[in-house]
């Protein structure tokens, strides 16, 4: 066991994977010699060689398209997209090919590949470096979308994603790459995809979050529990598609109230789907409308205002307050 940050846990998972299966290759911009712009692949090229940890040209469609071919022909590629906002030039490869190749070949060419991309905002980065556009992928049938919220989960979920016979979009919350450490076992382990984690049980309201905002939301929750005496359940979705409907719906059936907290913009962020499903399945259990706490429906701004774009602690608090006092 060691105390690792999230980005170290990612690196550790990649190292475990490369050691465990020689078909795994990492590829992307600056992942080799430089060890990744966030150091997520540091030391891996030295350890596993330049054939398995490959610096590619600056070419996202090339990276993702080549990964389709690599995966279809016996390899298990783990392409990195440097920031989620730079997946857009390769978007066609993701939605028209990565998502559909198993289906399009009726099972013949499955694509065991994991697209890793740091995402989310609030790291004072330049424009296009703060995208929370998981919706594009959640809306696309055939993709699995995974987001860890802490180092332990990051390693287990990334290894599970790499083991998956199907393509996974693995989104890494940059803001907490180095924000805190947790114990991370040295050995290889996986966590199940498609399963939410109960971060904290509670009786009065269900709060659903993922990625960066899990920890921030937990802090708000603890404070509210202290100050208001409410009992708040917090679910960490971990897999955004297919998401754990059972866990969410059961929790809401129990509490009768739901809040979803996301860094995505409001319109058609995942919270919309969750709210719609909760409405469909739990209408009679609901004591209050499902509340969505999210960024506003405008692009992530230059960094001076980014903390007003993403959900502030106060916005989360207000959201929970609203559902509790409806």
């Amino acid at each position: 066991m060691s105390q690792l940050t999230l980005v170290q846990a990612v690196q550790d998972a990649l190292r475990c994977a490369l050691a465990a299966d020689e078909h795994i290759v990492l590829l992307g911009e600056d992942v080799g010699r430089n060890g990744g712009v966030f150091r997520a692949t540091e030391g891996l090229q030295e350890q596993f060689g330049a054939e398995r940890v490959v610096d590619t040209p600056l070419s996202e469609s090339g990276i993702l398209g080549a990964s389709v071919g690599l995966a279809a022909n016996g390899m298990r590629p783990v392409p990195e997209i440097q920031f989620l906002g730079f997946i857009y030039p390769g978007f066609q490869q993701v939605v028209a090919h990565i998502a559909r190749m198993r289906w399009r070949s009726q099972g013949r060419y499955s694509l065991p590949l994991v697209v890793r991309a740091p995402f989310g905002g609030r790291i004072r980065a330049p424009e296009m470096h703060s995208e929370s556009t998981e919706t594009y992928f959640i809306h696309t049938p055939g993709l699995t979308v995974v987001v860890p919220s802490n180092p332990y989960d990051a390693k287990g979920l990334l290894l599970a994603s790499i083991e998956s016979p199907d393509p996974v979009i693995f989104l890494e919350p940059m803001r907490i790459y180095r924000a805190f450490r947790t114990e991370v076992p040295e050995e290889y382990y996986t966590l199940p995809l498609g399963k939410a984690a109960v971060v904290k049980e509670g009786k009065d309201v269900t709060v659903v979050a993922w990625g960066t905002l899990v920890r921030e939301t937990l802090e708000v929750i603890r404070q509210l529990e202290r100050e208001q005496g409410w009992s708040i359940e917090l679910l960490d979705l971990r897999t955004l598609s297919p998401w754990d409907e059972e866990a969410v719906l059961n929790s809401v059936r129990k509490t009768g109230r739901a809040v979803v907290v996301q860094e995505s913009v409001l319109q058609l962020g995942l919270a919309a789907e969750i709210a719609a499903r909760v409405g469909e399945e739990c209408l009679l259990d609901l004591e209050a409308p499902v509340v969505r706490v999210s960024s506003w429906d405008v692009p992530p701004p230059l960094f001076q205002l980014e903390d007003w774009h993403a959900p502030t602690a106060q916005r989360i608090e207000n959201g929970i307050g609203r559902v509790m006092t409806f």
């Binding site: 090339g62 398209g65 071919g69 022909n73 390899m75 070949s105 409907e245």
Partner: protein
């Protein structure tokens, strides 16, 4: 068969997009039987071209009769289809487009499967085990990076496998063409980029895709060789592909081949080529017909006669009748199949949707009965 290649010099397409200069086409290229092929091989070139043409015409008739859906005909391009397919070695990987039914069948996709595909059946997407063919790509040029990845995987695994990827003249304008060729050149991958320049991307002539004289010369930008061949000459195509494959297999990297050809028919059965092409242009190309011209040569060489012709056509006819029968005799499509093969394991949400659909189907059938 030898690796000898007829390297046709790179010449320009005419400004109206009507193809290469006339002197580009060998008028009587090989007065005697070429030494680098056996008689069986020469027969098979011809036979497969005839097969593809008959297949193609059959599908057009089926489409007109409403027995299949939209179809992208290939008549005129048979030498490209056959020359490329037959030059590929066992285990080589084909990455085709919608216009490459011919090459796909020659590489192992059953005729019935191709028919099912154009008839809108999911079964048309099935690829038999041991057949190294990718699903045909509809989104222009997006398959080129796949071919690069497939070739890269072969290289990493030290497989003796070359990947051949097909595309049209229009595809060269897409970013994916560029990104794929760049990767292939940089990583020296065993891949052959086979461009069927049939002069048009739907209605847009080659002269409006690019300011260059040829497509072959674009290879310069990626540090490897581009070749232009007469796509009406099955031997020329074969030799160019054979050579490029041999080169790739020796670890000497990729080749871009531009085969000059022409589709006689519409872009697809929804297209009307009279909107953008002249009868005269079509006639010019028909005079260089890949099948007729090769038949003439075979007969000149004393390798073909009416009896053989008749026997082969009967065989083809039988095969096609059988395939159509087996397409039309297939059990009806099952709605629940919508949910199959998207994930290795159908997730709960989709299982529930599948169940809901089954109910809907039962309800509809109940009402119908």
């Amino acid at each position: 068969m030898s690796n000898r290649v007829e390297e046709v010099p790179v010449t320009g397409h005419n400004s109206d997009g009507s193809g290469g200069k006339d002197d580009f086409f060998p008028t009587n290229p090989e007065p005697s039987v070429p030494k680098d092929f056996s008689a069986e091989e020469l027969w098979s070139f011809y036979e497969q071209m005839v097969f593809i043409r008959e297949f193609d015409r059959r599908l057009l008739r089926l489409q007109r009769a409403g027995r299949i859906g939209t179809y992208a005909p290939v008549e005129g391009q048979e030498a490209c289809q056959v020359g490329s397919a037959l030059a590929m070695r066992q285990g080589d990987f084909l990455v085709p487009t919608y216009r490459d039914s011919g090459t796909m069948m020659l590489r192992g996709i059953p005729i019935t499967t191709v028919l099912m595909y154009w008839n809108g059946r999911l079964e048309g997407l099935q690829i038999p085990a041991g057949v190294w063919v990718f699903p045909l790509t509809i989104s222009i040029a997006s398959q080129l990076p796949h071919a690069v990845g497939i070739a890269w995987a072969a290289k990493l695994q030290h497989k003796d496998q070359v990947t051949l990827v097909m595309f049209g003249d229009g595809a060269t304008s897409e970013g994916d063409f560029h990104e794929a060729l760049n990767f292939a050149g940089l990583f020296q991958l065993p891949v052959v980029f086979f461009c069927q320049n049939n002069q048009y991307a739907i209605s847009v002539p080659a002269s409006r895709q690019t300011a260059t004289e040829t497509f072959a010369e674009k290879a310069v930008a990626y540090g490897f060789a581009g070749k232009r061949v007469d796509g009406s000459d099955v031997l020329a195509v074969y030799r160019a592909v054979d050579d490029a494959i041999a080169k790739a297999a020796r670890g000497e990297g990729p080749t871009l081949i531009e085969a000059l050809t022409y589709r006689y028919g519409a872009h697809t059965t929804s297209d009307d080529p009279t909107k953008y092409r002249t009868e005269g242009e079509l006639e010019t190309w028909r005079q260089r017909d890949p099948i007729d011209s090769f038949a003439k040569r075979l007969r000149q060489w004393g390798l073909w006669d009416d009896a053989r012709e008749h026997r082969w056509r009967v065989q083809v006819e039988e095969k096609l009748i059988q395939a159509v029968a087996s397409m039309e005799g297939a059990p009806p499509a099952r709605p629940a199949d919508l949910f199959e093969h998207l994930y290795a394991q159908i997730p709960p949400r989709l299982l529930a949707q599948q169940a809901a659909l089954e109910k809907e189907v039962a309800q509809a059938r109940g009402v119908a009965e």
